[in-house]
Symmetry: C2
Subunit: 313 residues, 2 copies
């Protein structure tokens, strides 16, 4: 298996100032896998209830996503999230969460899942993330996402899990909360000292940064005149990042930098419509066009200062 | 004259969590001109009081800054600003402002000042900015800074002034306040529709962006593990930007992009020590070294997506 993701598959209900959607496919593993599917072959480990219908599964099938380890609990209900965004689309207000079958989720990996080359541990309880990580012994690169809930309530377990992964993918508030260090550069250095080879900090409308022990890489976000629904942007970024890496033979700094751009490209499409709607119908031409736009908007010539005009008085 | 700046020359008193300085050279024109002096020949139009001593003037003289249009009111006092920063160094708390001779400041331009090729209208009352702009009829490029005070209290005058300049250099909160548009990309488009050829938005620790009608360029900030005193960072940025442009024969998009980097380089040095202390003793080698660091931290190869590894199941 090329790329494995463990995480939630959910039905989201989202209200924004621009519209409302009562039920759509969501959850970290769904956003991640649809995004990654443009670059590689993905397998999901997760759980859904008896209400996960043929048309829901069809969305994953259409992207050739392997759902053989997506467990179904026929008499249970799929995880549901109800959220609202006001005009500040950076802040999600959770109206209600029904964990349903996700409350008892224990990831079960088949032999095929365990053989994954790359693994993304979506935002779930860190004990569960670590159990999965310990089973994918041959993985070349394992990345992890987390959230404030686990930083506050299960900090020791989370730190143990972070020690065992290669890449941590979080947002700037989480990096500060995790370390207690307000300066992001210092916070990043501390997280890297725990073991991971790389830290990716997502900064929403300000872009994203990649920290390694030797190198720093930072990119702006794609400039969007309107953001419609930011739900899942972080997982869509991670899907583009890990999916692109999975398509590459060498997972070096240069590949990670390009993967950061592809992650940003995918996230920028994700927020243009509700849920996974825009990403679902993307083409490789559209993805590559926006990748090239990132080059244009960050390019400058490396000409050190020399006076071309005499500084006459 | 290569580059003219009109703005405040002040004595600042600053308290930060890391230290305290009771009196040092500050003000927009001082920060701007010392920064720009590394790239070009600068002239200041401003006003000081009888308390502006030989050692204060010596700082400007040492950078070959022309102070012949820096008016002195012998029986008046120089503008004083008292400010404090808490751990969030993005927010300056003004403890006290004594405008002194600056309250009655009327820029007086000599024939030499009026012949400037490039002009920076520092953050002063927009009527005064416009008066200056109307006198520098031969200028190739005129840039303007402003602040919330003028946006709130003298909006109509400010809009008239903006129509007459080539480049607006403000921060993101000011861009939103000026237009009433929360989305920065839309706000930028609106400001450009008023007349300026370019808008530069300073985003503090997130970097800066350059908007023109045809192009978008965005860069991260230089990653600093500690910020000591952010006072004057914006004017130091503008000084690096305008100073570098002034050294170039062609003021095209490519030169503006490099100027954005040099502006960011100068601002990153400025915040490392109190006031203008760090910038004062910079060398061109240090400036060029940090310029190259910007290239390294933003570089990625432009290779569109192609699968190097077959996406095997």
């Amino acid at each position: 298996m090329a790329l494995l993701v463990v995480g939630s598959v959910a039905f989201d209900a989202v209200e924004t100032p621009f519209g409302k959607c009562e039920k759509m496919l969501g959850g970290s593993a769904a956003h991640f896998s649809i995004s990654a599917s443009f670059f590689t072959h993905v397998q999901i480990v997760g759980v859904v209830g008896g209400d996960f219908a043929a048309e829901d599964k069809q969305i994953l099938d259409a992207h050739d996503i392997d759902t053989s380890d997506l467990e179904c609990v026929p008499d249970g209900k799929t995880f549901r999230w109800y959220g609202r965004y006001d005009y500040d689309l950076n802040v999600a207000h959770t109206l209600n969460t029904e964990l349903n079958v996700f409350a008892e989720f224990k990831p079960k990996l088949s032999e095929k899942s365990k053989s994954a080359r790359l693994v993304f541990l979506g935002n779930i309880q860190p004990d569960l993330q670590r159990e999965v990580r310990e089973q994918v012994t041959g993985a070349e690169l394992v990345a992890l996402d987390t959230m404030n809930l686990w930083i506050e309530n299960t900090r020791e377990s989370l730190l143990r899990t972070i020690k065992g992964v290669d890449v941590v993918i979080i947002n700037d508030a989480e990096a500060r909360q995790l370390t207690g260090v307000p300066n992001l550069i210092k916070a990043a250095r501390e997280i890297l000292s725990w073991g991971p080879k790389a830290l990716i900090v997502k900064r929403g409308e300000y872009g994203a940064a990649l920290f390694t022990k030797k190198s720093y890489f930072a990119i702006p976000a794609y400039p969007l005149e309107s953001v419609f629904d930011p739900t899942g942007a972080g997982d869509t970024f991670a899907g583009g990042f890990m999916g692109y890496l999975s398509s590459q033979q060498t997972l070096d700094d240069a590949a990670m930098r390009r993967a950061m751009i592809f992650g940003s490209v995918m996230a920028s499409f994700n927020v243009e419509e509700f849920g996974t709607a825009r990403v679902q119908r993307l083409t490789h031409a559209e993805i590559n066009e926006r990748f090239r736009a990132f080059k244009q908007m960050t390019h400058f010539e490396e000409i050190p200062f020399e006076r071309a005009v005499p500084a006459t008085k």
